[in-house]
Symmetry: C2
Subunit: 215 residues, 2 copies
Amino acid sequence: MPTVSSEELAAAAGVNSAKLRKDFSYLGSYGTRGVGYDVEYLVYQISRELGLTQDWPVVIVGIGNLGAALANYGGFASRGFRVAALIDADPAMAGKPVAGIPVQHTDDLEKIIDENGVSIGVIATPAGAAQPVCDRLVAAGVTSILNFAPTVLSVPDGVDVRKVDLSIELQILAFHEQRKAGEEAEAQAGAAAAPAERGNDDKGPDGDVPAVMPA
Amino acid sequence: MPTVSSEELAAAAGVNSAKLRKDFSYLGSYGTRGVGYDVEYLVYQISRELGLTQDWPVVIVGIGNLGAALANYGGFASRGFRVAALIDADPAMAGKPVAGIPVQHTDDLEKIIDENGVSIGVIATPAGAAQPVCDRLVAAGVTSILNFAPTVLSVPDGVDVRKVDLSIELQILAFHEQRKAGEEAEAQAGAAAAPAERGNDDKGPDGDVPAVMPA
DNA sequence: CGGTGTGAAGAGCTTCACAGCA
DNA sequence: TGCTGTGAAGCTCTTCACACCG
């Protein structure tokens, strides 16, 4: 399949074809009118723009279950990421291989970052350790952090943080699940005995919950 | 601290106070003009609306590193989630306890779902196993699925799927990291020798990458 | 003719600004 | 007076619709 149309790609990705064409147009005019997009050329251009053609050394700090899962995760290598080092505070872990890479002790964190030219760090430590680890990573030169610890990290300007909270994803599902149950009940009982009025229109499974929730 | 103002909450959450008040207003009028929000009452109302006061039994399918990490994750219990069962296709895993819960074999999946009244399933299997597992979960009555496998799952209407792709989060960081590097280089070299024009304005670290990317 | 690239319209979300109430 | 609750303005992202070109 040498070429592909925006319509086909849109169907495959589950989005609108106009949106897809508009997104592509921001990268340049890589399509041919009346034909479509040359697949190979398009893949190359998008890969380049997204940085997939580069090699990104990353370190993972905190080699518990989650850290080990990340170290073993196959999806990284194919996207240009290379696990340069695994770091843990537990001396008993030091030297132990995880996913074929020996775990190193936190004491050497700065040295490891420096020697490998790492600019992306992954934090998979317990909540309490996250901020100190983050501070050390930043001080050592890391400018992007992926945070799995259930804490809000504070970082200086110029450093990016992305937070992944596994329980929030479940919570979003539970929120919609609750709505489903509530709507069934209301449909049966009729609108009169509704337990509480809801001001907002349900936007369906794709809408997120509000940004603020109690700890 | 018995009450709190929208301004204080907004500062803590890093959002605009008007947005916060508007979000709260969708749940009802739980504040007092001139005073603020009663903390205890507000926490209760939000918890109830988000479904945190309910007990949500979940099953985790695929007890590899990631599945084990999820089973051990402390954040679930405090949000009303209860790991009802761990399921794996490997007979060698059966009976083995992970996070204090014995792993059960995939053969019993339907029975487990039914007996525990599970409506939320977590898929942490390899990519190839995800869709069959998903189909069985749905057939058994699960209506919400959290998918960690790097596959797009197809489900019937009425079933919610949320996908967590760990490598995409890293990719987003790498994307911004690349931009940072590019901007530095451009600043040094001047605009004349820029390697490629970029049509889109950089919206900073909070903007996501486009929705479509090559496999 | 077929499909891209894009100006313009539309929809949704965020912020402003202030009336109204404790 | 102080702070909520909210109509309206502003902004961003999405979709439409079609000129234009291979």
